[in-house]
Symmetry: C2
Subunit: 378 residues, 2 copies
Amino acid sequence: MSQDFSFTLQATDGRARRGEIFTPRGTIRTPAFMPVGTAATVKAMFPQDVRATGADILLGNVYHLMLRPGAERIARLGGLHSFMRWPFPILTDSGGFQVMSLAKLRKLDESGVTFQSHIDGSKHHLSPERSMEIQHLLGSDIQMQFDECVRLPCSDEEAERAMRLSLRWAERSRKAFRDEPGRAIFGIVQGGASKPLRLESAKALAGMEFHGLAVGGLAVGEPQEVMLDMLETTLPHLPAGKPRYLMGVGTPDDIVQAVARGVDMFDCVMPTRAGRHGLAYTRFGKVNIKNARYAEDLSPLDPESTCPAARDYSRAYLHHLVKAGEILGMMLLTQANVAYYQALMAGLRESISQGRLADFIAETRAQWEAGEASSRPQ
Amino acid sequence: MSQDFSFTLQATDGRARRGEIFTPRGTIRTPAFMPVGTAATVKAMFPQDVRATGADILLGNVYHLMLRPGAERIARLGGLHSFMRWPFPILTDSGGFQVMSLAKLRKLDESGVTFQSHIDGSKHHLSPERSMEIQHLLGSDIQMQFDECVRLPCSDEEAERAMRLSLRWAERSRKAFRDEPGRAIFGIVQGGASKPLRLESAKALAGMEFHGLAVGGLAVGEPQEVMLDMLETTLPHLPAGKPRYLMGVGTPDDIVQAVARGVDMFDCVMPTRAGRHGLAYTRFGKVNIKNARYAEDLSPLDPESTCPAARDYSRAYLHHLVKAGEILGMMLLTQANVAYYQALMAGLRESISQGRLADFIAETRAQWEAGEASSRPQ
């Protein structure tokens, strides 16, 4: 196992865990939310503003980066951290998920996946070995095994085939991973919506030398209760001493529920994508800023936020910017959303330390339901 | 005349002038470049970043703001400064120019212009009186008279008709303007590309009680030499003690040439619009960042710039962002461009004070022509 990468549990509350992942590029406070920096940018945000929201780590996408500007090019330019001016930890996905969701003319076999770029139709091949090489070229701090993620619902036969293939690819990924100081690799539990398959996957991966384990193939169309069910089945069989990462999740409520079940890390495009479409996540729930009720609302999204975008600009101004299609509207809402997600994670961490996670969750959900009216003078 | 608004000449070099306009909201160092904040935002920039480039004053557009979100609404929300979080001076145009260039189904008569919104087809009327009312509602520091701006080339008959109408509208605008402390109104010289018409317009406006005079109807399609010819005809007949504003101009070279002829203020969408289209203005001339030569260029736009966007990000990264259509590419290039324009104005002001404007212009143009290669190790 690599040196200079470690996970320390600091507190637990029920199954929820608070901890820290140490890497040479910085400490990741868990439970952690990783903003998504798909194409070497967290869309519509300056890197220093991402940092200022409290983000300890970003996610980068192998699929997008291998196509444009290219992994070898990023390596020649000094690696992804320097390229995008984010000197803190970066986790990279393996490319498998995006190949399935974005690429054209996919052909999957034991060796890997051949596909055409959605950008220019050029032909590419991804395998466990090539994915590890790309993630190494990017300079990733936490690499993900190459896996196959199936959409839900799917047949158990299909889920089983993909899960077993992902296990074989896990072994090949682990073998191809270069153990260098500070670099880590996570395995990925698959198995669709089948408890026996999830269990088998988790147990097999727990026996391999991964630095952390992820749960993949969830939040891909199934109801929240199915996702939580799979987590409850899977997590008890993952090593307690390693970080647990729920991939691609999710809404604030998804995150809160998953933290209560023992998840340590999350990533999702939701706060950034919503921010580009006029939707704000706040302490008071979701705010559709395009709604006419905000046209003359001088209150900010959240007067108590430490984020300038949420605290200093009126809803009336945000409403105007979004209605007018102004880029500044996307910039402000994205920043406010990422800041809210980070504030939520900070609240979860703090409440775990204090042994009052259940109360925190109840208060948080009550505030979401009560909406912004609860914070205004009557 | 209003109190609390004054113009002080600090130095001259040939016909070029360095000065300061004092307003209650702040001092405007001239020659000044005003970034354009069309719809209550300098596109793709946070207001504090606009300020950080060195901008003392912004321009707001009556046409856009009256249509969305509406002048009365902005007034109810506390005025444009508070709405867009720009507490420093704002100059508003009168709406005349945009009505002619953007609105549908225009009908112009002595009273004003009736037109349909380009946004939703709604019908509106602008007159000198309504334009002054709107600019007052917005809370503008420097209001512009309502005028008619004709496109060049046009017949002398057409230019004369519009110029005389604009003079009558100047009188009505001046009368409708509310003399309140700190508020100013500028007249606008028209007359197309005709020296006698420009002269007549300038002399007539010089006799009215305006706080400053603008030259309008230039940089609307004519060659630079025609524009400069019109300036040389017009400016000597404007009062030396009042600021002179060349509307909608222009390229860095247009600005340098106009400053040398005695212009004090400029506005133009060029730096912001170019920044959204992959074009950077730098000390080394224009840089089309999409050019393949920048794909692996680790140098920034300008290592000596004080602007983070120009100094801290590699051309390779900017190239990638723009090729990938990323919003951050627009954010960075816009910031870099506005910063370059402000740095150019600072250089012009300094060289006027030092009596070396001609040398500064020669050096600046030589640097533009030599390009970035001149700054790199051989």
